[in-house]
Amino acid sequence: MILESIRMSLMNIRKNKLRSMLTMLGIVIGVASIIALITIVQGATNNISNEVIKLGGNKIYINVIGTPLKQGLTQNDAEQISSLDNIAGVSPTITGKTTVIYEKNILKDIVIEGKNEVYFRADPDLLSSGRAINILDLESKNQVAIIGSNIVRELFFGINPIGEKIIINGMLYTVVGTLKETTGFSLGSTNDTVIIPYTTALRILGVKNISTLDAYLEDTSMADHTIMEIKGILNQAFNYNEDAYNIYNMGDIIDSFQSIMSMMSMLLGGIAAISLVVGGIGIMNMMLVSITERTTEIGLRKALGATPFAIRLQFIIESIFLSLTGGVIGLIFGVLLAYVLGAIIGVGVSISLSTNLLAVGFSATVGIVFGYMPARKASRLNPIDALRSL
């Protein structure tokens, strides 16, 4: 009898092609928008997370405000932190702004960052050409520079910058490397930055203390313990004034960022789900019209011995078929839309099976929920009234 019901439902859908298609459209749009939105948001989340992780999921970021007596960390403080068990290395940053000159090209207010070898070791993809800063540079306070992609373009248009001499704050530096161009959502772009050994920077930028320090963890699960240890060192250095510094665990920041993004995707999915409900009401409306049109048929079927259940089944199957077909078509459109939008925005898109199952399952549920009321109405029709209506 189920087979028979399916056959009869299909026949009816075929007979009312245009009407069925328009009704399905509501579900198609609903499912397509759910899939496209969730997929795009997930893609964007992954992209941003990757960027943030690139900045260091295994990184503890120490920012020193200082006290009137002691403005920042000394090299000795940095070495103490570096020697902790769970610390793979520390990378201090000393920042200043100054003028950079190559031959007749002058760039003003360029960000100069003093870094060490750990910074380059933590992310091997940083360099585009040349070499990184090494321990020798730091020990001998060599005057070498690694320059960002915009600086390359503005100072060395058409020239290979490696080995060229530039003047930073009045002193001659050799360019030993160039940085890869950072794109997209990248936080902390280094395209306009010149990096020099931090020991050199301490000397030439007129800064005596280290104000920011990145500590790289060996084991991120031990992060909390290591932070306690770092606090111990900093408390000694700043005479137990906890306002003198801030410690951020990048892992925590990534976690909270990801939870915000997953909330976003649920919110957007929820909004799209509303359109699916609207589509469901469309189906219900069409089913009700169809029942009114087919009153005689329902009456006849009842006279021939159709049970209320058989009548209900026929209409529910019709409604499920409409919504499920709409769901599958919507799935296809949604995936296509996600890829197109992803390509336009520049977000990597990955279609997750769970999202697809969710959308298709949801559309089938819509079919059952919104088909039930009309189907029940049909099954309760009095056969006499139904036969008389002709």
Binding site: L3, E297, L300, A303, L304, G305, A306, P308
Partner: protein, 230 residues
Amino acid sequence: MSGIVNMKNICKSYYLGDEEVKVLKNVNLTVNKGEFISILGPSGSGKTTLMNIIGCLDIPTSGDYILCGNDISELNELELARIRNKEIGFVFQSFFLLPRLTAVQNVELPLVYSNIPQKERRKKAKEMLFRVGLSDKINNLPNQLSGGQQQRVAIARALVTEPSIILADEPTGALDQKTGAGIIEYFEKLNEEGKTIIIITHDINVAGHAHRTVNILDGKLTEGTGLNDP
């Protein structure tokens, strides 16, 4: 209580607003197996209501109705559907064939609801169409058939479940004289084969073909002239 249909003091009333309209008043009717009976009455006499009650499409307000040993007042909707499917073959004035189904699919329809497998269904339906002389029209849609042919498809549909009663409501009402006479002849033939037939009609000529006629007027049943002369 030997008959297939046993009706005792059947009353049926409707409410039009606050006013009670008594459509059937203390109807007593017994139909025995193998009988060919006509229920004759003008429109508004309550004959359609009586047919609906006989056909278990409606239940009486009061009175006892035993159909093939089943007390109708005790059955729920599901059981009524089963009884209609098994015991009653309906033939309607306007045929009520489903327009999108072929002749054989229309005949199969009641078998669908008695859960008979597709193959057997098709076989029985074909046999039945052969018996009503339409074996060459099996795959025709109703609109490709004449009125008489459509009514014969409807009769095949009524017969296919081998019901206890064929219940025909103005079966010739939508047909011309000659075709109508053919259909009535066919009912006579079925009766000779042992089928129990009840025809509801306002046409005295049609009623005359039955072996027994009961008259219905203003909801009251009176026994007619008894045995009609063939």
